[in-house]
Symmetry: none
Subunit: 241 residues, 2 copies
Amino acid sequence: MPVDPNPAGLAAEPSATAREQTRRRIIDVTIDLLERGGRDAITTRAVADAAGLQPPALYRLFGDKEGLLEAVAAHGFTRFLAAKHLDPDPQNPIKELRAGWDLAVEFGLANPALYTLMYGEPARSTIVFRMGLELLTDRIRRLAVAGLLRVEEDLAAQIIHATARGAVLTWLSLPESQRNTALLRALREAMITAVTNEEPVVQEQGPAGAARALRAALPDQRVLSHAEQRLLTEWLDRLSA
Amino acid sequence: MPVDPNPAGLAAEPSATAREQTRRRIIDVTIDLLERGGRDAITTRAVADAAGLQPPALYRLFGDKEGLLEAVAAHGFTRFLAAKHLDPDPQNPIKELRAGWDLAVEFGLANPALYTLMYGEPARSTIVFRMGLELLTDRIRRLAVAGLLRVEEDLAAQIIHATARGAVLTWLSLPESQRNTALLRALREAMITAVTNEEPVVQEQGPAGAARALRAALPDQRVLSHAEQRLLTEWLDRLSA
DNA sequence: CTAAAGCTGTTAACGTTGATAATACCTCCG
DNA sequence: CGGAGGTATTATCAACGTTAACAGCTTTAG
């Protein structure tokens, strides 16, 4: 693993290092090759040729063909997200969740070869997989704060990802004549009902509202001891104030 | 495409033709190689060697490496289904639908390499894809007859397939420490509510929802000490589950 | 019974692929 | 000026998918 050529992080921001520039160029031509000729069009020779290099140069920059593919996957996704502008201050968290799911699916349908590269084999690119999941955390957090989350946050992220992944891959497997957007809508709404509550379980947002809601529901719980519940109740009272 | 050596369908049932026997042997050793060494372990030379043949023999039997992989995918699935015995006269079609979905997912989790081969790339094996969908038609038909189907039959099949596919691939992408069968249950029930008219069981919310809301809002609070917040977070995690 | 036809499988080889060692270029710094 | 260190190149390797040419064996035709 090569070290950062600019460890101090000084200046040098405007134009990235030459190394980074060639990396970007290679990644770009690789994505181009991928979308043009499919997965098998990516050979070290073809990529090097399209980037104006010789094959061994790739190995110094990416270590491996797998490394190149990982870099391509990661960059392809972030590039797509950068093109879209996300609502900076959303108000309806469920609406926002729908939009996020649609965005992920749209990416897959618009870049089938790249998507297949990223999410076809489960073995590859746990990095990209985690990137995608972490992208959801903010949205899910907002749902939780609003008292709209039906399941744990991690599980919610997994459900959202799984439905989107199944939607994209199934869609791409269907012959065009059988593709119907009703499939996408149905899966999205199934995701919504699995992840969210229709009615918020807390009246007002913030710690105080949530604390009051929890305090009201506390008598039903069975996982805390009496002593724990006593102390918890005290804290909830303080938080409610 | 070679013609059936026994077009009349007379006798000759007990032992298949020699051609079919070697095909089976090759397919078997290929599945073995696949499960043992992953996708890349399938090379024409390795397969031929394991089957006691020379590589060109494969080309006469399967035409192509892709043809071999198709045959492997198709046979792997049917072999799994043959091992399970399906309820010949089911009475509750929704229960049967759940069982069918579980079966498909179970197959994926038990044969990850084979499943990835079949359902990783959407381009490959539209044959196997259709086989899987058609396997659902009977179950879906029974739902429709009972008046329990919420959507068109084709769409229902697609939804069932997509949720199972997303479930398996997502599960396999997760590190073992994060795998939780709640994901599978949640996706299965989401599928049920999307496909059938069954009223979703209004699961008792209890304190979990409020606990999740409070946990998400906790970083904003200012009335509890660090230590108190730590302990509280732990309790909230338990209450959320 | 003999000879042609047809499978089935082999040997040998071709072009391509991912990958690496050895080497040349080039720039920066003392 | 003269190394040092990074960068890219040439030459090459082993492995892969695939094909042509040919050899053994069984079945069928005359």
